[in-house]
């Protein structure tokens, strides 16, 4: 029998090699897309990506996180392309030289939702009025509080309404994703700002009604940015570029975004400039 002092190191080495091997082998035509939970939770990516792969042979690995984390993944070169919805943060990302370019892809609207019956009496076309009404009644408002695109939008709306909410009994920061935040709002009979895709996907399980939607201040713009290969030489720019081009191509990605419906509703409106 082989002595243990020989056997054990051999076993360790064999195991390490077996585990490391799959990662060391060259990967196929594959890119990492860092995006927001809303694009994945709505089902859009499940609809688009198989079509993209069929067209180009490029596989896309999706990391669905908040916009803050998605941009950080791009900033570190851990993602090859980002698809996000926080224009101010994206411009900052672009100014810092992390983006090869930035292109509009699609938009939809955020929705301000609240408990059925609307205790704050904010229902109507004016989102700023609705926010002031919520403050007036000190009704619970659940903020994402996670640096996501939706959170960024929410803070802009408060600022534009001339209000500065601080964490308190009525203003609470969930620090969680959209689905979790909607459920907290539901349980606490509170208000929250949501992307409409996630809200409508979950609406039948929530006791929350639309307070304001489809108004210009609630526009939700999504952009795609391949990570800049001159600052991050390791990124797979050619394929990331192919993805961004495909997504903004009127006959391809844009047409599929147009035809993507959930429960009979079109979720995103394509708006890439030709």
């Amino acid at each position: 029998m082989v002595p243990r002092r020989v056997l054990i190191p051999i076993l360790v080495a064999a195991l390490l090699v077996a585990i490391a091997l799959p990662a060391a082998l060259p990967r196929g035509r594959e890119i990492v897309l860092a995006t927001t939970t809303s694009t994945e939770d709505s089902g859009l990516l499940d609809y688009l990506l198989p079509r993209f792969t069929a067209d180009t042979g490029i596989h896309v690995r999706v990391i669905a996180v908040g916009t803050g984390q998605a941009l950080e993944l791009g900033r570190r070169g851990d993602a090859d392309v980002v698809l996000t919805h926080a224009p101010a943060k994206e411009l900052e990302f672009e100014r810092a030289g992390h983006a090869a370019y930035r292109r509009a892809v699609m938009y939809n609207y955020f929705v301000l939702v609240g408990p059925t019956g609307d205790p704050a009496n904010g229902t109507g076309p004016d989102v700023y009025h609705a926010l002031r009404q919520i403050v007036r009644c000190l009704c619970p408002f659940i903020s994402r509080g996670d640096d996501s695109g939706t959170h960024t939008k929410e803070l802009q709306l408060w600022r534009a309404a001339g209000l500065v909410p601080e964490p308190s009994a009525w203003y609470r920061e969930a620090g969680q994703g959209m689905g979790a935040t909607l459920r907290i709002a539901d349980q606490l009979r509170g208000y929250t700002l949501s992307d409409d895709g996630t809200y409508y996907t979950m609406a039948d399980r929530l006791d929350l009604a639309v307070i304001v939607s489809h108004e210009p201040p609630l526009l939700n713009n999504y952009s795609v940015m391949p990570v800049n290969p001159s600052t991050h030489p390791d990124v797979r720019f050619a394929w990331a570029d192919a993805f961004a081009q495909w997504l903004t191509d009127a006959a391809k990605g844009q047409a599929f975004i147009q035809s993507f419906v959930v429960g009979g509703r079109q979720v995103f409106e394509p708006n890439a400039s030709p």
Partner: protein
């Protein structure tokens, strides 16, 4: 659907089993050596500090381990060139970091409690170094198996680290625990609970097999 579920469960098993195997290969000898050193040389401050470190790492939040491994494997990190981020191998690395201290600590306790007479008998028969360690570990096998099982239990139920390092990528790094997080956040509680039940059934099967092997070992 079933294919996807089996893929997710298979990856859970692969990641947990691999990390437990590596952590055991590191932690069992380490725990045994720690216990034998203490016995041979008495309570030295260096050993006490080593023990305190091992048990402190018990309390390492998995999310922190995940973040550290993320920074290590990130393109800008020291091991970025290996391209292990968002791969099962990266997830295994993070879990090894989390469960090695656990395996080490439990092994230490098991070996320390093996009777002096066993150790003396082994020594009088000429056993020293790794042979002595191997003999004592064999004598403490019930405790060592417990160490491995506790490690496996922690690995297969862990979510914070594999979420950050793996990225919960569908068809690639999604495991049962991260799928539960995703389905919970989507409000699909029934699916989430179903996945959890599936995970528990798998763990039950594994532990059943391990205990059978253990009992057979005692004849």
């Amino acid at each position: 659907m079933v294919d996807e579920l089996l893929g997710i469960a298979g990856l859970s098993l692969y990641v947990a089993a691999s990390s437990t195997a590596i952590a055991s290969l590191l932690g069992v000898p380490l725990g045994a050596v720690l216990a034998l050193r203490e016995e041979a040389r008495g309570r030295r401050p260096t050993l006490t500090i080593a023990k305190a470190i091992v048990f402190t790492l018990y309390g390492m939040p998995p999310v922190l381990a995940g973040l550290l491994v993320y920074l290590l494997l990130s393109k800008e990190g020291p091991l970025g060139a290996l391209a292990l981020l968002f791969t099962p191998t990266g997830m295994i690395l993070a879990q090894v970091l989390i469960i090695t201290p656990i395996v080490t600590g439990v092994t230490y306790s098991a070996v320390a409690s093996v009777g002096r007479d066993v150790k003396d008998a082994a020594k009088s028969l000429g056993a020293k170094g790794w042979t002595l360690t191997a003999t004592v570990v064999e004598e403490a096998r019930l405790g060592v198996l417990t160490a491995v099982m506790v490690g496996f239990g922690r690995a297969i139920s862990e979510v914070g680290a594999v979420l950050i390092v793996g990225g919960n990528i569908r068809g690639s790094t999604r495991v049962l625990t991260t799928a539960i997080v995703l389905e919970t956040s989507r409000g699909n509680f029934a699916v989430a609970v179903g996945l959890g039940a599936f995970l528990l059934v798998i763990a039950f099967g594994i532990f059943l097999v391990l205990w059978r092997l253990q009992e057979r070992g005692y004849r």
